[in-house]
């Protein structure tokens, strides 16, 4: 079994805004593209032009929520490795292939040591790891460790591929160990929460909850409209008279 570092220097991770995510899958494919070409083995696809099934490090699930009153709502939920502080996928690894980096807390798989036993995927309560069937090794989000420090990329591009591509700006990357970082502040402001905290994994990634919706369904329209009711007459002649008066004002 593999030990976790007692403490990591930084806690790099993502703040994912569920209020803004439109469920477009841009992050899913950008991730697939970068990580197929870069870190480790390519993310393979089996029967890609038939009943296809491939390896993805990031997937979006959509859920419907039916409140007690009012319309049902749809929440798009992107899911990838949460780079937990108490990552059970690391401690369960029999070869030391899974590890959490001391300097930034990123959870990685050293593919040359991975035997593809799948224990880590079983241990992860989030289903965030996928065994690549072509390579026989475990694949997972690397937080684009080969982008975020990459001196061959312009500085602004040194963020995970999913963050760089997200059209709605729903994904934010940063250091949660630094209370002054953008992600820490955003999470504090918006009530960022841990996914399944009862699992005790202490995920680094935070989700920002959807804002309250359908407020107009609750509103007492009469009160709201009151300031609008400057003229009571809905008849045409009344309108024209009002028009004339109103025009006289400018």
């Amino acid at each position: 079994m593999t030990a976790l570092p007692e403490k990591t220097g930084r806690k790099l991770g993502l703040a994912i805004d569920l209020d803004t995510c439109v469920g477009c899958h841009a992050c899913v494919i950008s991730c697939k593209g970068w990580n197929t070409e870069n870190y480790g083995a390519p993310l393979s696809d089996q029967d890609p032009y038939g009943d296809a099934s491939g390896t993805f490090l990031n997937r979006i699930h959509s859920y419907e929520v039916q409140p007690d009153f009012g319309s049902a709502q749809v929440v798009h939920f992107p899911k990838s490795c949460l780079h937990c502080e108490d990552a059970p996928c690391v401690t369960v690894c029999p070869t030391g292939a899974s590890y959490k980096r001391i300097e930034d807390g990123i959870v990685l798989v050293n593919e040359s040591d991975c035997i593809g036993c799948g224990l880590c995927a079983w241990a992860c309560p989030y289903g965030a790891r996928e065994l690549d069937l072509a390579e026989g090794v475990m694949k997972k989000c690397t937080l684009c460790v080969d982008r975020i420090y990459n001196e061959n990329l312009p500085e602004g591009d040194r963020v995970p591929a999913c963050v760089r591509t997200c059209p709605a700006g729903a994904r934010h990357f940063g250091d949660f160990a630094d209370p002054e970082s953008e992600v820490s502040k955003l999470s504090a402001e918006r009530g960022g929460f841990d996914l399944m905290p009862e699992q005790g994994t202490k995920p680094v990634n935070k989700y920002l909850p959807p804002r309250q919706k359908d407020l107009l369904d609750e509103i007492d329209a009469i009160d709201v409209l009151a300031p609008l009711l400057e003229i009571k007459k809905s008849r045409n002649s009344g309108f024209i008279k009002w028009l004339d008066r109103a025009l006289g004002k400018f």
Binding site: H25, G54, V74
Partner: protein
């Protein structure tokens, strides 16, 4: 085991080279950085400098590498060797392919050019393809707008000189309330997502009006799950509330719209309903300062919205009076429309209130001085931070044109068009309808057409009719059936050609339009029409030429296939003459260029058109001595001039003293300049010209300088569209060109010059009791029509499509997970998998568009879920309305523009045993490209 950390390289080389071009994975046209390793495409990301996407990129764009390398790519020109529809071909060389095409085309050009029907689908080179068709001489040209969103585009142009998406955008940086109508998840793809994110970041609000709460509507703060086809009624109820409560922008209406223009009210006059005009034909208003008549644009006047004019005992009243007469009627009150729209009256009022409150109580003031077209200088731009966007959801109905007009009227009443925080045009828009071309249709043997095919009809004189009154165009665009069909009616071409109505054609030539599958209504019927033979044993549609990059379903129905390149291997221009990529603050255009060379015997379709034109020596393509003007499409892009100084690309032209922009001579180094600038050109609008563009003389001067038009073109927004009244007058018996009697009533009803609402036609015919449900499709964000299907990554997101059912329907029919249902319309039935969705209008069912695929197409395996579980809704929709017993073929289209009324569909549903696969199923096509590999582990770098 102690933590041990391997050394990893966190700075690996990313690529050998980045080449910047324009995406073509959908119609959005984002800038992309294509990373190459060893000359091969390794990774695609968004271009941060690009005006459209500013660095971000959607799923489709990022999956371009799988599209570029798709096994479905055609490999060489194909000649049909089996029966049509079998997919049996032999590969031939280009010389032979071009000779075949010329041997078919040249004789018809010499004898009767209208025997060619040339229609392009998701063509991004329409200014070029139309130029080719015009010089060939056929009247039968259009792109796919007629079956897409022409109602939206045409209503916008006629009403306010521009529409949504390519014509304009919300003022993303300042708007505080965005209301979206019928926007699925596509046009405008990335800019809308970027904009939604920005609005939310600022704490602004979004109201989504859509029967389906997915995508953008899922993140909207308020969801209005409207009943399909009733958006216009809902909008008019908001208008009713705003007018009733005086929450309209009177100053804006008076100054910038035709609300004060005087309309003839003499029912017995041939001028009834037309504008009072002066002897220079300028519409007249009453000047509030003097109480006298004045042309609308006279300096110093204050147009009166209230006063009437009596002339020869006949009253002329301002348009505003007619609006009050109509929209204050109780029939437009929230209570009266609530049931029909499926929206509570209180909610309609609350929305009206929020619009009014945001527009008027949160007024924005930008201190920038500008001068209007009446010569008055203003110190500020006054803003109404309410904006709107709408797309196919409201336009693909038989009441779509009027609904789109109603929405624009709402925007204008709020004073929220071209103001800070409102809706803003993108150059070269705004552009008054008056300076758009009118339709042209006069074909002569061996000669070019007498003008551009498509345009904006101003009255009966502009209809595309022959001297005997019969339709001049095969699609019957610009006829009394749909007089203002500004984009043509591609969905009627095959049906009409097969029926020989209005006449027979010889060659059907199509590009990028999957007409034997997802791009047609009545898909099975279309397949039959394409393969039907006459008594002589010959195909009823004698010849079909098709160009596509991929082995689509339509390929199987062609006699000759001209294989196109992928978007990474070609030249293209995203031109200001066409459908540009501008932003509200900048004019912009862009190119594609071969960032990699094709590895097979394919050619860019536009280059093939140049080569065909050169072989036929088409006017416009050859010099006086018959030698070719253009070598290929790239040569055309650089050297073609539409008029002196104006070419396809505005950037880096040659001026008297070096480089020039907008206007200028062709520059042989133009493409290199574009390439070194990241594939695009942008010219920013000066700050004091950025708003109020239709009336802002600073902007008008800038537009003239850029070459959008030759003199300033200020104009009034047309709440009342006089052109429509001209058609009504004809239907009432005035004028020489008269409609057939059976259309008179419909023209009077539907071509109302002020926005109206009427129930969709399908509702008239398919008894509500028998077909109680509405059925719709939406395009998924991660997939765009059939283009995404062969994409190994994207098809894992949407590999099949269930029919989503609302809770009421789900429970009433006792459906359970994994069930199947038979869904029937007046036209046909399909048997498909179903799924429950609660966030859905209770009388609406829906599915994803164009996921279903025919077996054998797209190099997919027979087991592909697209063919076994996926399906098309198209089988339930007919291009004609059910017979009325009058012997006439009534198209299932909007009566104004001819837009295909996809979303009028009404259906019934019943639970059924699961069949082996979704029905109807079709025989497998022979694949001209074989099948894809069993496994992919894509890595280009070593």
């Amino acid at each position: 085991m102690k933590p041990s950390q391997p050394q990893i390289d966190t700075s690996p080389p990313v690529s050998d080279e980045v080449r910047k071009t324009t995406c073509y994975m959908c119609a959005c046209r984002c800038g992309i950085n294509v990373h190459l390793k060893d000359g091969r495409v390794a990774y695609i990301e968004g271009n941060r400098d690009h005006p459209v996407n500013k660095g971000v990129l959607c799923a489709k764009g990022s999956a371009g590498i799988m599209q570029h390398n798709a096994p479905s790519r055609l490999r060489a020109p194909l000649r049909r060797v089996g029966p049509r529809g079998s997919g049996k071909f032999e590969e031939i060389g280009w010389d032979e392919a071009l000779d075949i095409a010329v041997n078919w085309l040249e004789p018809i050009r010499r004898s009767d050019p209208s025997k060619l029907a040339f229609f392009t689908g998701r063509d991004q080179s329409q200014s070029f393809t139309s130029f080719w068709a015009q010089n060939f001489g056929t009247p039968n040209y259009a792109a796919h707008g007629g079956f897409c969103s022409v109602n939206m585009a045409a209503a916008g142009i006629y009403t306010m000189g521009g529409a949504f998406w390519e014509f304009g955008q919300p003022d993303w940086d300042r708007t505080r309330l965005l209301m979206i109508f019928g926007v699925a998840e596509d046009h405008d793809s990335n800019p809308i997502k970027i904009g939604l994110g920005r609005i939310k970041q600022r704490g602004g609000r979004v109201i989504g009006v859509n029967p389906v709460r997915s995508g953008y509507n899922a993140v909207a703060d308020e969801w209005v799950g409207i009943t399909p086809g009733t958006d216009g009624l809902f909008v008019l109820a908001i208008v009713h509330e705003l007018m009733r409560s005086g929450k309209i922008d009177l100053e804006y209406l008076s100054r910038y719209t035709n609300a004060p223009v005087l309309v003839n009210q003499d029912r017995n006059s041939a001028q009834y309903g037309l504008f009072l005009r002066d002897d220079q034909n300028k519409p007249l208003v009453i000047d509030r300062k003097t109480g006298r008549l004045a042309p609308f644009d006279r300096s110093g006047i204050v147009p009166d919205l209230s006063a009437v004019h009596g002339k020869n005992g006949i009253d002329h009243v301002p348009v505003m009076h007619l609006m009050a007469r109509r929209y204050l009627k109780p029939e437009y009150s929230p209570e009266q429309v609530a049931k029909r729209c499926g929206i509570k009256a209180d909610k309609i009022r609350a929305i009206a209130c929020e619009l009014a409150r945001t527009a008027f109580d949160e007024e924005i003031v930008l201190e920038r001085e500008w001068t209007d077209f009446r010569g008055e200088t203003h110190k500020v731009f006054k803003g109404r931070p309410v904006s709107f966007h709408a797309m196919r959801g409201i336009s693909a109905h038989s009441n779509g044109f009027q609904t789109c007009r109603a929405l624009h009227m709402l925007q204008i009443l709020l004073g929220s068009v071209e103001v800070p925080g409102g809706f803003r045009f993108k150059p070269p828009y705004p552009k008054p309808v008056d300076i758009h071309p009118t339709p042209h249709c006069k074909a002569s043997p061996g000669k070019p057409l007498d003008g551009p095919h498509l345009g904006f009809a101003r009255g009966p004189q502009d209809l595309a009719l022959k001297d005997d009154g019969s339709p001049a165009r095969i699609d019957k665009a610009f006829t009394w059936e749909n007089p203002m069909s500004a984009h043509g009616m591609m969905h009627m071409v095959i049906s009409n050609a097969h029926a020989g109505d209005p006449y027979k054609i010889d060659t059907l030539f199509m590009y990028m339009a999957n007409m034997s599958w997802n791009s047609s209504m009545n898909t099975r019927g279309v397949m039959n029409m394409l393969t039907d033979k006459g008594d002589d044993g010959e195909y009823v549609i004698p010849r079909i030429i098709y160009s596509d990059s991929y082995s689509s379903e339509m390929v199987a129905y062609a006699d000759l296939v001209l294989p196109d390149t992928t978007y990474l291997e070609r030249h293209d221009c995203i031109s200001l003459l066409d459908r540009p990529i501008c932003e509200a603050d900048a004019a912009a255009d862009a190119i594609r260029w071969p960032v990699v060379e094709p590895d097979r015997d394919v050619r860019g379709f536009q280059t093939v058109l140049v080569q065909l034109a050169n072989k036929m020596k088409l006017p416009g393509f050859v010099e006086v001595d018959g030698s070719p003007k253009y070598r290929d499409y790239a040569d055309y892009i650089v050297n073609h001039e539409r008029k002196p100084g104006i070419g396809p690309l505005a950037g880096w032209r040659k001026g008297p003293d070096g480089l020039s922009y907008g206007r200028g001579q062709p520059n042989p180094e133009q493409l290199e300049k574009y390439i070194s600038n990241g594939g695009f050109f942008a010219s920013h609008i000066p700050e004091d010209c950025a708003y109020m563009k239709p009336w802002n003389m600073g902007y008008q001067a800038w537009a003239v300088e850029m070459g959008f038009y030759d003199t300033p073109q200020p104009y009034l927004f047309e709440l009342y569209v006089e052109a429509m009244r001209h058609f009504q007058l004809a239907a009432e018996g005035h004028g020489e060109r008269q409609p057939p009697d059976h259309l008179r009533k419909r023209i009077v009803k539907t071509l109302d010059p002020l926005p109206i609402w009427y129930p969709t036609f399908e509702k008239d015919l398919a008894a509500e009791r028998e077909y109680p449900l509405h059925a719709l499709t939406q395009r998924p964000m991660a997939m765009y029509h059939s283009w995404g299907t062969q994409n190994a990554w994207l098809r894992q997101i949407h590999g099949w499509n269930p029919m989503y059912l609302p809770t009421k329907v789900w429970e009433q029919n006792g459906f359970a997970q994994g069930d199947w249902a038979r869904v029937s319309s007046v036209h046909g039935s399909i048997t498909v998998p179903v799924a429950h969705m609660a966030a859905l209008n209770e009388n609406t069912i829906w599915t994803w568009n164009a996921i279903g695929k025919r077996k054998g197409a797209w190099a997919l395996a027979e087991s592909a879920p697209e063919s076994t579980k996926g399906f098309l809704l198209n089988h339930l929709i007919h291009e004609l309305l059910p017979s009325k017993g009058d012997g006439l073929r009534w198209s299932n289209s909007d009566p104004v523009t001819g837009q295909a009324a996809w979303f009028d569909l009404r259906v019934k549903i019943e639970k059924t045993d699961a069949p082996e696969e979704s029905l109807p199923s079709f025989a497998s096509l022979n694949s001209p490209v074989g099948k894809g590999p069993d496994m992919l582990a894509w890595k280009v770098g070593k």
